[in-house]
Amino acid sequence: MIALDGVSKVYHGAAVEVRALDDVSLTVDAGEFVAVRGPSGCGKSTLLLTVGGMVRPTAGTVGIEGRDLYALSHAERARLRADRIGFVFQMFHLVPYLSALDNVLVPALAGMRPGRVEAAAVLERLGMAERVHHRPPELSTGERQRVALARALIKQPDIILADEPTGNLDPENAAAVMGYLADFHREGGTVLVVSHDALAEEHADRTLRLERGRIV
């Protein structure tokens, strides 16, 4: 499903060169739940954005279902993200002026088919039935992350890429969010979570450790 082969990513600053990923090779099988742990600044987010087709590696290849992601055109990568990949971020990245329901429906701009009924159903499944018409500033952090999760799930993706999804949540909400990711995995989805939270390990089939851009 996901295959990284010798992937490196070097950021060139004004005076320094930062090697965020250093010859990373890993494979995530379809239906697998993989957690990547590591300290802050070890390259976890870069890894996830590289797998998501948003950061072109300096070296190496990223394959999704056998296709070289960065051999695809910009539009083809966008299409792949729209159709197959759901994202969950630590900072939620919700649209502040849209209701929870409309935030879940934002992928419609990328041609997603499910409509308002399906979006309401996903929010209800995540315990947000009473909050569908509230906007992000009116929601708690836990609720915001559930809306972000619902936005990822509404597309019925094959893969969910989650970047510190519990990083801003209290233990109760963190457990709930990780539980939803586990549910998605149980239903056959592939999950790649990068986190420094031990909670991810409990649900993961496999945990990898990333340090200074290298899998150790």
Partner: protein, 379 residues
């Protein structure tokens, strides 16, 4: 979803929306107001200048102009038919033709300038204008103020003049010019009285600026192509005032409108740029969700088009209302003719929508080109 998102964003960032809307509304209002005022000014100038009188004089071939100015009329004559030839010539350079025959006569001890005038002949095929000058019926005369006062003549009196009995149809207001010693009659009456049937000694005309910029040489050439040999003179003070007034108004509009449009374009562009910067995170997540460039550009361009359309309608209404409100004071003669220019509404809608699209194009493209990873990495 695109429209819902656009409207929700407008409601969320009202300041940004209002800022751009005010810029477009102001630009359209100023442009519409100026154009409406220019239109009123053009009408007013035409009317005022027309009221000032004819500005072209066509006199017979060989007229000594020094002699003409000392006498106030040409000694030579030309056929009355000339006025009809001019009317049928299709020339765009002149309007309002009046054929006249003038002679100095002594009447009851008074030195009188007897003037026979034909009712105005309009250019054939052109738009019919309201007539200028005097429309004197046969068998009647209009008497200048000095002669009327000297001879004790009133409206309704009958006078004997060169063997004809004529009714005084009007006594003219004092002009402070040679007109005060004129007695006007119908051209054909005067021709008969002077024994000069079918003859005239001048044609008065109004130079028309509707055919574009023309010099007196152009006008002379066009008139001589129809009436070879005639002398053409221009009453410059009237002609220059007329041309200068119109040029001044047109020059003012020609500078103001582009300046206002340029300012509005920059304002709308900066407003869109600020909107793009405010929405960097939103654009980043849209890119992460696989949203392509077109809907993202559509969010900005659609919003600006909406602003353009709203601004056009509001600006047209404001500009028209202001022009009508103040225009009636500025242009009292043609005040009643100042009316909304509905054709401008269509131009305003198309123009301001285009202005907004052009102004927001580069900021929208910068949104489309934005690297989502940059924003999504900002934790």
């Amino acid at each position: 979803m695109l429209l819902r998102m656009m409207l929700a964003e407008i409601a969320h960032r009202k300041g940004n929306f209002l800022s751009a809307l005010i810029a477009v509304t102001a630009a359209v209002a100023i442009s519409v107001g100026v154009i409406t005022v220019c239109d009123a000014s053009r009408r007013e100038t035409v009317r005022l200048m027309r009221d000032m009188g004819f500005n072209l004089l066509i006199v017979p071939e060989g007229t000594d102009m020094s002699d003409f100015w000392s006498r106030s009329f040409a000694e030579g004559e030309m056929p009355e038919d000339y006025v009809y030839r001019l009317a049928d010539s299709g020339l765009m350079t002149i309007q309002h033709l009046v054929a006249r025959l003038q002679k100095r006569v002594t009447w009851q001890g008074h030195d009188v300038l007897l003037t026979g005038a034909l009712p105005e002949v309009q250019m054939t095929g052109g738009p019919q204008k309201s007539p200028m000058g005097l429309d004197i019926e046969a068998g009647t005369v209009y008497v200048g103020r000095h002669i009327a006062d000297s001879a004790g003549i009133s409206v309704g009196d009958e006078i004997d003049l060169l063997g004809r009995r004529l009714r005084v149809a009007a006594v003219l207001d004092e002009q402070g010019s040679i007109d005060d010693i004129r007695i006007y009659g119908h051209l054909h009456d005067v021709q008969e009285m002077l024994g000069r049937q079918g003859r005239i000694n001048e044609i008065e005309a109004l130079q028309c600026l509707c055919a574009g910029k023309q010099t007196l040489a152009d006008v002379r050439a066009s008139l001589r192509s129809v009436l070879p040999g005639v002398e053409v003179t221009e009453m410059r003070s009237i002609a220059i005032a007329r041309a200068e007034t119109r040029k001044m108004v047109e020059r003012f509009a020609g500078l103001l409108i582009p300046a206002v449009v340029l300012i509005a374009t920059v304002w709308v562009g900066l407003s869109t740029l600020r909107n793009v910067n405010d929405r960097r995170a939103e654009i980043g997540i849209l890119r992460a969700l696989g949203v392509s460039s077109r809907p993202i550009a559509g969010l900005f361009l659609g919003k600006m088009t909406l602003i353009g359309l709203l601004g056009a309608v509001m600006g047209w209404a404001v500009g028209t209302a202001v022009a009508i409100h103040y225009g009636t004071d500025i242009f009292p003669v043609t005040a009643r003719a100042i009316a909304p220019l509905y054709g401008l509404l269509g131009w305003a809608v198309v123009g301001s929508a285009l202005l907004c699209l052009v102004a927001s194009w580069l900021p929208a493209m910068s949104a489309v080109m934005q690297d989502p990873a940059e924003v999504l990495s900002e934790e």
